[in-house]
Amino acid sequence: MALAQLMLRRIWSRLAQSLVLLGIVSMVGFSLLHLTPGGPLSQFTDSPGMTQADIERIERQLGLDQPLPLQYLRWAGNLVVGDWGRSYRDDAPVLSVIAGRMGQTFKLMLAASLIAMTLGLLLGVFGALRQHGRFDRGATLATMVILSIPTFWFGLLVIYVFSQRLGWIPAGNAAPVGDSGWLVALHHLLGPAFVLGLVNTAVWSRYMRSAVLECLGQDYVRTARAKGVAPWRVVVRHVLRNAWLPMIALLGLELPSLLGGALVTETVFTWPGMGRLFYDSIANRDYPVILGMLTFSAILVILGNLLADLLYGLADPRLRRR
C-alpha cells in the first residue's frame, strides 16, 4: 500500500532528525550540568573523612580528570551501547534505577492525561458552543485560577483539604508496603493524578475552546448547515472532526509540561516515580542519574512529538499524500 510506504519513509526521516536533536540536547544538558556550581565531586569533598589523595583517586576513577569534550564523548558512547553509568549513591546502573521508577510516573501521567483530556475537551467544547454564556465564563475563570496557582501549592492544598481535613485520600506514597491491591493503588493515585490532571485540564480546555471557536466560523460549517444537517451532527462531524486535529499536536507539546508537572507533583505527594528520583538526585548531586534522567526525558519528549506528528499525518487527509 502506498500509504504504508509513505508513512514508513516519513518515520525514518523523522527518526533521523530526532537523533540529531537528541545529540544536541544531550550535549547542552551535559555542558550545563558541568557548569553548575558544586560539581560532581562535591558530595565527596564535603565529607570530612576524605583526603586530597582520595579525591584525586576518585576523580581519576570516574574519569572526571579528562577534558569535558572527552568526558562527553565517553559518556555518549556508553549511552549508545546501553551503559548509562552508575549512581554515585548506591552504585546501581542508572538505566535500571530509571526503569524502576518509570512505571509509577507513567501511571500518574496516564491518569492525569485521561482526566485532562476528558475534562479539558468537554469544558472546551461546551464553552465554545455557548461562547460568553454562564458555563463558558465559569469555566474560563476556573481554568485561569488553576493556571495561576503554582502546582506545589495546589498539591499541598489538596493534601490539606482532602487528606488532612476530610480524610478521603492518603497524603502520599503509591501504596503501603506489602499491599498490592489495585483498589488501594488507585486510591493513592487519586490525589496526585487529580492535581497534575487539573493543571493540564486547564491547558487542554483553553486550546480546545479556541479550536472549536475557529472551526465554528469556517465556511464548511455554513455549508453543512445549508445542507440541512442536524445541529448535533454539524458539531460532531464538521466542527469536532476538524477541531481535534490541533489537539493531536498538543499531545506532543504537552508531554514536557506533564513531565515537569510530574516532578513537582511527585515530590509533594512523595510519589515514587521519576520526578521524585530527579528531585532526590539533584539534592544528592548524583550526576550520572541526573544526566540519565535528562536524556531519558529528552527521548520521551522527542518520541512523544514524533508520535503526535505521525498521528496528525494519519488524521488529516491533507497530509496523507505528498
Binding site: L216, D219, G228, L245
Partner: protein, 343 residues
Amino acid sequence: MTTKDTTAPLLEIRDLAVHFPTPGGAVRAVNGVSYTLRAGETLGIVGESGSGKSVHVLALLGLLAARGGAGAIVSGSVRFEGQELIGRDEPALRALRGRRIGVVFQDPMSSLNPVLTVGEQIAEALTSHGLGRAAATRRALELLELVGIREPQRRARDYPHQFSGGMRQRVMIAIGIACEPKLLIADEPTTALDVTVQAQVLDLMRDLRKKLGMAMIWITHDMGVVAGIAETVQVMYGGRILERGPVRAVFHDTRNAYTLGLLQSLPGAAGAAHRSRLTSIPGQPPDMTRPPPGDPFAPRNRFATPRCFEEVPPLAQVPDGAPGHLVAAWYDLRAALAAEAAA
C-alpha cells in the same frame, strides 16, 4: 396554499431588512428589499461587496448566525412556496434547507470540509433529509456524474484538496442540487474560478437548470455572468434594489446610474455598447452604520439631483420601459444621457 396556482410566486420577499447591532451602531446591511421569483425563473442579483446581496439570502435561510452574525435583527416577510420563513424555528428551516432550497457557495476550498471525502459530503445532504445511507452513497455517485466528474466511483473517495478549483465547485453544485430543490441559491459560485472554468460551470448550471426545472438566484458582482445565465437581473446597492427587470431591458435601456457604472466597468462585448473605454465607478461604498439619508448611490452619482440626497427613491415601474422593468431613481438617466450626448 389552497390551489396549485401556477402564477403564484415560488419566493416572495416583502420589506426584508437585516441589521447587525455593533458597538459602533447598527450596520444596516439590508434595508427593505422586496421582490418575487417565479418557479423555474433565474434571477441574477448584482452588486458590489456590502450591497446586501449575500446577506439577504443568508438571512432568509436562517444562516446568519453561522457567520458570527448572532443577534442579527431580521424583519419583513419571506414566503417560500406560500410558507412564511421569517420567524420560523430552526428545525422547520433545517427541513427546508438543502431539500427545497439548495445553496452553492463561493470559494469551494473553504466551503468544503477538508477532512471528509467528497462522497461523504454529498451523501450527507441526502441522509440529512431522510434518505438511507446506502441509497445516499449511490445517489452521490450519480450526482458526481451529473456535474461532470469522471470516474465518480474513485473520485467519491477523494478529499476536497485532491480536486482542482473547478472540480471542487462542481462538487459544491452536486451538494446544492442533491435533493433536487425547487430553488437553488448560488452565491458567487464562479468568482474564485478562472474564466474558462467559469464558462464550463455556467454551461453546467444552465444544463442542470433545464434538467431539474429549478428556479435559481445567482448572486454575483459580474454583469457579464448575469447576461449569460439570468432572465431577470436585479441590481443592489447599500442594502436596496436600485434597478430590476428583464436582462435585455436592464442592459439596453439602463435607467439607474449605478447599473450604468457596472456595465461600463465590464470588459468585453456585453459592456462595449455602453462605453468607449473601460471605466470604474468613482468613490467608495457607503458606511452602512450611517447610510446616506436619500438614494444610497447619490454621493457617487454625477447625475444626482438635490432630491437624491434627501429622500429615498421608491422602486417603481419605468413608465415607458418594458413591463417588469423597475428603477429607483429621482433623476431621468435616459434624458440626462441624451443631454450629455447633445452637449
